[in-house]
Assembly symmetry: C2
Homo-oligomer: 459 residues x 2
């Protein structure tokens, strides 16, 4: 039964089909059944591409546990829009159904005030646990840990442990592969595995089979470094201690995987000069993409003032002799190189994470064209203003700069978006179309654009 992952388009079509069946009682039952057989991650991917009201309708056809899980997997912006479509009652039911560490995720999407009012509605014990976790600093392990782990006293026998596990409800523990041994003050003494427990005689006390020097993290540790510690040792969960060494929770591998994936995405994008939280490419509209790229290009603008000043300085120096047209060369090349690097880094990452398929090339280029127009227009205006007003360059050359910038940015963007997709299509690793490759490629062509515009306008 080889299982082919459907494309995002296929998933979307299937969800839209389901949507149209909602409304009649029989249709709704059928939709419910179909939805319940699907995974939250897959549903979230399709729903991120639907209208918020449609996604909200589908969400309400699911049972609250599944709906909550889908909410957690949705890109933040999408989830925010959908949340606006849902009543407090519905949201509270999702919140209640989620594991506490995931429930916290909803706070960001729902907004602090509304989240606070939802906490009033859910059982007091759950609300208290959520508030406890939320008291830890942002991006700390404390916010991501779960208090639902299995712990034992050192003199408990395997027989007792197995009996306890058997009795526990499905939701009581988030994972039971590791068993944490604590003393009366809940200080962590050691860890053992369920696998080991199963293999020793039932009368064994757990202290005899525990490992006494476990790798631990602290509740206030940075989540990324804790996730790296887990990955380093190949563990699937780590015990979380407070300042005094008391066990306060466990940090599980599924959260660590998400943290690392997002941190890696942010690191890769940063190298390409793109800022912002990791969000899937398909969930970002041109305005979001603009906001992630423009800060860096503005910083570049300021920095290239320095370069321009150097050029002007040596321009006056007759021994070296730099003509005014050359003053703007680093700015033009920098704008083209950097905007191209941003696009190619973004697309290459989206391809690596399967957020974009090669078949999506036309949609990608269309979206990137809009972003390039916005960035090009902004840079062109800024460039013209600085040349004309700032450096008192003549109108002619100022116009050349103001026109060359958007054209070079559009060109760099086109190259930067099509080359990685083309490379993947041809079976190469898109990473070979790296940012420096694009930058260098755009250098030569950017020069031609600049000089040609100059020749026509100044000639």
């Amino acid at each position: 039964m080889p299982r082919l992952l459907p494309t995002i388009q296929e998933r979307l079509l299937r969800l839209k089909g389901l949507l149209s069946q909602l409304g009649t009682a029989r249709g709704t039952d059928r939709v419910k059944a179909e939805l319940s057989s699907q995974r939250a991650e897959d549903l979230a991917e399709g729903m991120a591409r639907m209208e918020p009201e449609d996604a909200a309708a589908l969400l309400q056809a699911m049972d609250p546990i599944q709906a909550g899980n889908v909410m957690v997997e949705l890109p933040t912006d999408t989830a925010r829009e959908i949340v606006d479509e849902l009543s407090d009652e519905v949201l509270a039911s999702y919140l209640d159904a989620l594991p506490m560490d995931d429930a916290i995720d909803l706070a960001e999407e729902v907004g602090d005030e509304r989240f606070e009012s939802l906490l009033e509605v859910i059982p007091a014990e759950d609300a208290a646990e959520i508030r406890r976790l939320m008291a830890y600093p942002e991006d700390s392990v404390g916010r991501l840990m779960t208090e639902r782990y299995f712990w034992a006293k050192p003199d408990m026998t395997i027989k007792q442990i197995l009996a306890d596990l058997r009795k526990a409800g499905e939701e009581k523990y988030e994972q039971v592969n590791d068993i944490y041994v604590v003393d009366d003050a809940h200080q962590l003494l050691g860890v053992t595995s369920l696998r080991r427990v199963l293999r020793v005689p039932q009368s064994t006390e757990v202290a005899e089979i525990m490992r006494v020097d476990p790798v631990t993290v602290h509740a206030t540790d940075d989540e990324e470094s804790a996730a790296r510690t887990m990955a380093r040792y190949g563990f699937y969960a780590l015990p979380v201690l407070d300042e005094s060494g008391k066990l306060v929770g466990i940090f599980t591998g599924d959260d660590a995987q998400t943290i690392l994936r997002e941190a890696e995405t942010e690191d890769v994008l940063a190298v390409g000069g793109v800022t912002g939280d990791a969000e899937p490419y398909y969930a970002l509209n041109p305005w979001s993409l603009y906001k992630r790229r423009f800060p860096w290009l503005i910083a570049l603008f300021v920095a290239e003032t320095l370069t321009g000043a150097v050029m002007r300085h040596y321009g006056k120096d007759t021994e070296v002799g730099v003509p005014p047209l050359m003053f703007f060369l680093p700015l033009i090349l920098g704008a083209g190189g950097n905007s191209g690097a941003q696009v190619t880094t973004t697309i290459t990452r989206a391809l690596a994470l399967d957020e974009v398929k090669t078949g999506d090339w036309l949609a990608v280029m269309g979206k990137e064209f809009v972003v390039a127009l916005m960035i090009g227009a902004s840079l062109g205006l800024l460039g013209f203003a600085r040349a004309f007003f700032g450096w008192s360059t003549g109108m002619g050359l100022s116009l050349v700069v103001g026109l060359a910038l958007p054209v070079v940015v559009l060109w760099a963007t086109t190259i930067g978006s099509i080359l990685p997709i083309g490379a993947k299509r041809l079976g190469f690793d898109p990473a070979v179309m790296s940012a420096p490759f694009i930058t260098t490629f755009v250098d030569a062509t950017g020069l031609i654009i600049y000089f040609e515009i100059a020749r026509r306008l100044l000639g």
Copy 2:
């Protein structure tokens, strides 16, 4: 018991202390005990910084299971050197002790021929399993999977399953958290978890509690995409099928974590123009670093020929008018920007992975200085040759180019290595000192260097 991770330096000192105690029978026993309490990942990190013969001596003081695990964690180049110090008999004992999927890792380090002769020595069944896995394509899941998983027929009861698990030797299964249900042809029917098994009555048949639509991967799938699938769904293992849907192994989370970490490192470095396999920074000598960076800089050189040609073309065009000194501007700026971006990307990644601490700044700068000398000298010679012989530029300007290139590269490297470490020291995210930041910063200062050299030599 808050546990502070020791620095690499502390680890190294401790290992050297242990080394000096080897030799006497009592000393060796003490060292053995001390080593056995440490984790393979930590030992490998320290040993990668020792002389190969010292590392080999420590390795031989460990029991074969631990020694094998340490070997697998060592950087490839280090492992290759250590392997040369070890006898076939010792190596075979490591190979025999390792899980089969890890044993394959040794093939790369030992060399094909010697590995083949080692396979003759270990038990035939293990050798056959290793040969089976090695028949799968490089970088495929098949090479990383383990055949040691727990499977059951659909009509097996929970009681039988638990009895089987209890009887199994420690090494028989790599993990038992997931239980795979197969039919008589070993086609995968479904999956259930040990946790679920523990919670149902002992007379239940496993088919009643299995999930019938598990996420699977194929043995020939790319390892990175399989690891991403696992991370996407937050699983800790995935069943691996052959073309016909037969279960042939499982792909476990510890391997997936390693694959992803290395793939992410390679992706980040590629954006910065650095090629090659992921290896820890401390295991790379200047020559290795040179080899990872020079290919890209050479590609840049070729590409900037295009830019230079454009400049020369418009230089003859009297309306635009580009003086010869300007022809080399993109090359100088590109060389500085790109070599700076390579260094800052490398160091930022090493900081993120904790392979370099801020306290290592002097060692890092020393190593980078050597690399920069090598790269600068190579580029300077190439630049001079191209200017003088290729473009028949006069001796004066050719010398300016040949001198400016190494100076700019040295400067860019210094900035590129110190800024991320400084940022981290001051409590900022080193990623803000991103490649484009360095590139832009180096642009202005690179210009000054170029113009000053020109003024002195040509003035």
